[in-house]
Amino acid sequence: MKNFESRFNRWLDGSLDESERLAFEATLDEETLLSAKLWPSIRSTLRQSASGIPVPHPDFLNAQVLRDIARETPPPPRDGLARLVWSGAFCVLAAAVLTALFLPRITADISTTVVSASPASPSVSASAFLAPGGRSTVIWLDGVEYIPGAERVQ
């Protein structure tokens, strides 16, 4: 079929050589041959006639055609927009729920940390460590002056 179309097109274009043209025309029935032979002249006549027809108020006609096309074109489905909005709302809600569930847990797991500790007195040393349990942190001062029990602390 494709071969036929190819040869038919070449036949219409007149690009077949003489022997090919005769062989191809022998495969065509009389009616097809006649209409095909007439087609180039019909096409040429139509083009000449159409280009010569003056169109009154071309802008108005153009607007009318565009309006008719718009009227006949089905509007985009509104379901798509609604689905998009609801999907967005669902994502935000999911983010809110996950945040509410996990943020307290994340913040609850953070322990106090000592960045630096410097005693004012050179006779005092300081060290820091995490207490057993992992939540409490200790700054351990060594060498701070002992306070006798008789001295009142308040």
Partner: protein, 141 residues
């Protein structure tokens, strides 16, 4: 629909506490037989004090609570003998980065930069006193 989306956006923001407070306490810890009943305000801290310092009885000598916010600087005086000067350097989602200065009377004992997390106390081992140990507590709550 817009109201719903606005509500959902607001709900999705991290929930920050309206106001944080910093609490300081001066505690005397001793070993007694039988152990003394733990003061109500120290019940959450008693296990850690026992584990870390090895004392079974606690006395709350003084305490003070006041608001804390980013870039604030204030005195925190749980007792007239031991007190803090707290400078809040930065507020993070779960903690405050603070500069702590611990004073005994007019003498500066310690300067420390600490990231104080909420409900995660800081214990400072103070001087020995009589048969016990002074412990200073700091907590953001």
């Amino acid at each position: 629909m817009r109201a719903l989306i606005a509500f959902l956006l607001m709900a999705s923001l991290p929930q920050l506490p309206a106001e944080d407070n910093i609490w300081a306490a001066l505690v005397l810890s001793t070993n007694e037989n039988p152990p003394r009943e733990v003061p109500r305000k120290l019940q959450d801290f008693a296990p850690a004090i026992k584990d870390v310092f090895g004392y079974n009885s606690l006395y709350l000598l003084g305490q003070k609570k006041q608001p804390i916010s980013a870039w604030s600087s204030d005195w925190l005086v749980p007792s007239s003998d031991f007190f803090f000067h707290i400078t809040s350097l930065e507020q993070e989602p779960a903690c405050y980065r603070v500069l702590i200065e611990l004073f005994r009377g007019k003498s500066l004992l310690l300067t420390a930069e600490v990231r104080l997390a909420r409900n995660a106390p800081l214990f400072i081992r103070g001087p020995l006193w009589g048969q016990g140990q002074l412990v200073l507590l700091l907590e953001v709550r």
